[in-house]
């Protein structure tokens, strides 16, 4: 892959030359933990909001995905838009734990919705 780049003198191809993954596993794990926590937290908050506003059916699930997308954007902004210094790839920050908070979301959505609306 880097074979024909060897005579390159400019630094343009430097990212291609070094394709060794250089990362610390512990820091990586701690970053993943942060993602997991923020997603759980946001899904609980999002559930309460969706319940209080009285969303039902598909709209509520749309809210969930919206909240998750906002979380992803927030996390990306937190990394200062340089994901590769914190995570391996884009998919990790956007997709990891995407459905993990769904159960919490449904529970708190139902809880808030019931307290506010059906009685």
């Amino acid at each position: 892959m880097a074979g024909h780049d060897e005579s390159e003198t400019s630094g343009r191809k430097e990212s291609e030359e070094i394709d060794v993954p250089i990362f610390s596993a512990e820091n990586m794990q701690s970053n993943m933990k942060v993602i997991y926590y923020s997603r759980t937290f946001m899904s609980i908050i999002g559930g309460v909001i969706a319940g209080i506003l009285g969303f039902t059916g598909l709209t509520g699930f749309v809210i969930y995905f919206l909240v998750m997308a906002i979380t992803s954007i927030g996390l990306i902004a937190k990394t200062g838009f340089s994901i590769h210094s914190y995570f391996i790839g884009w998919s990790q920050i956007i997709l990891d734990g995407f459905l993990g908070g769904l159960m919490s979301f449904v529970l708190f959505w139902t809880f808030a919705y019931d307290i506010v609306h059906i009685f």
Binding site: A2, E6, E8, T9, S10, G11, E14, E17, I18, V20, A25, K33, Y36, Y37, T40, F41, S43, I44, G51, G54, F55, T56, G57, L58, G60, F61, G100, G101, M103, S104, V106, L107, F108, W109, T110, F111, Y113, D114, I115, I118, F119
Partner: protein, 246 residues
């Protein structure tokens, strides 16, 4: 007809909210009780040693490309040669982990305590919910579901005319049981979550076999393709410096 089911606000105040609050508090209580009951066990010196060897071998594997080929070969030989390598386990000498586990009464005791601290509160809460709140329609989930979910959501109500999205109090208990896991991991820290998985592992797989992971690590080390990256790094440094100079 099922759509305009009117629920008394007293159900909300005296069933729905207390049930959820009690579930949360019991989860917190369980966490602290299991923390108190956990006995500090003195780790077996041999097991710790083997674990450290595995960590060292893993570090070598991860950082293999940062040392020269000769150094890497020497280290690999140190770990995995067939005579006295650290990762090499002679055939018949592997101790039976299962037997070892059973011979240690402390281990079994610890496991039982952990299991009990999980089962007892759950049984008690379930009995409590059954006794006080059986037969209530306590909640309504805000999305429609098919008839298939009736058994899951209307546990304790034997009416086929009620809309499926109404939830009985007993099923609300189950929903809480599963849905509050995320909340617990936030308010109690991840120790709670890892504890659960460890418990699962102990219940099903009976711990792990250290000799097996030694062998696996040895195989992993044997198949590492060594490729020294230092020359590349020199080129990269050159490029960076040139950029700085320019």
């Amino acid at each position: 007809m099922a759509e305009d089911l009117v629920l008394d606000t007293a159900i909300r105040d005296w069933v729905l909210i207390p049930l959820s609050v009690v579930m949360v508090l019991i989860g917190v209580l369980r966490y602290f009780v299991s923390k108190l009951m956990r006995s500090a066990q003195i780790p077996d010196a041999k097991l710790v040693k083997e674990g450290q060897v595995i960590v060292r071998a893993r570090n070598l594997r991860a950082a293999a490309n940062f040392i020269p080929p000769k150094s890497f070969r020497a280290r690999r030989l140190y770990y995995s040669n067939e005579e006295n390598g650290l990762l090499y386990v002679p055939k018949g000498q592997a101790p039976n982990a299962q037997a070892q586990m059973f011979s240690d009464p402390n281990m079994a005791m610890d496991m039982m305590k952990k299991n009990l601290s999980m089962i007892i509160p759950q049984t008690l809460t379930f009995a409590w919910v059954n006794f006080f709140f059986s037969g209530f329609v306590a909640a309504k989930i805000p999305f429609p579901l098919t008839q298939r979910f009736r058994a899951m959501l209307q546990n304790g109500i034997d009416l086929s005319t009620v809309d499926v999205s109404y939830v009985s109090s007993r099923s609300w208990y189950f929903l809480n049981l599963f849905g509050l896991r995320g909340l617990f991991s936030i308010i109690l820290g991840e120790e709670n979550a890892t504890d659960d998985t460890q418990r699962m592992m102990q219940m099903t797989g009976f711990g792990f076999d250290p000799t097996k992971s030694l062998g696996a690590e040895k195989d992993g080390l044997d198949i590492v393709q060594h490729d020294w990256t230092m020359p590349k790094f020199e080129r990269r440094a050159e490029a960076v410096l040139r950029k700085l100079v320019r």
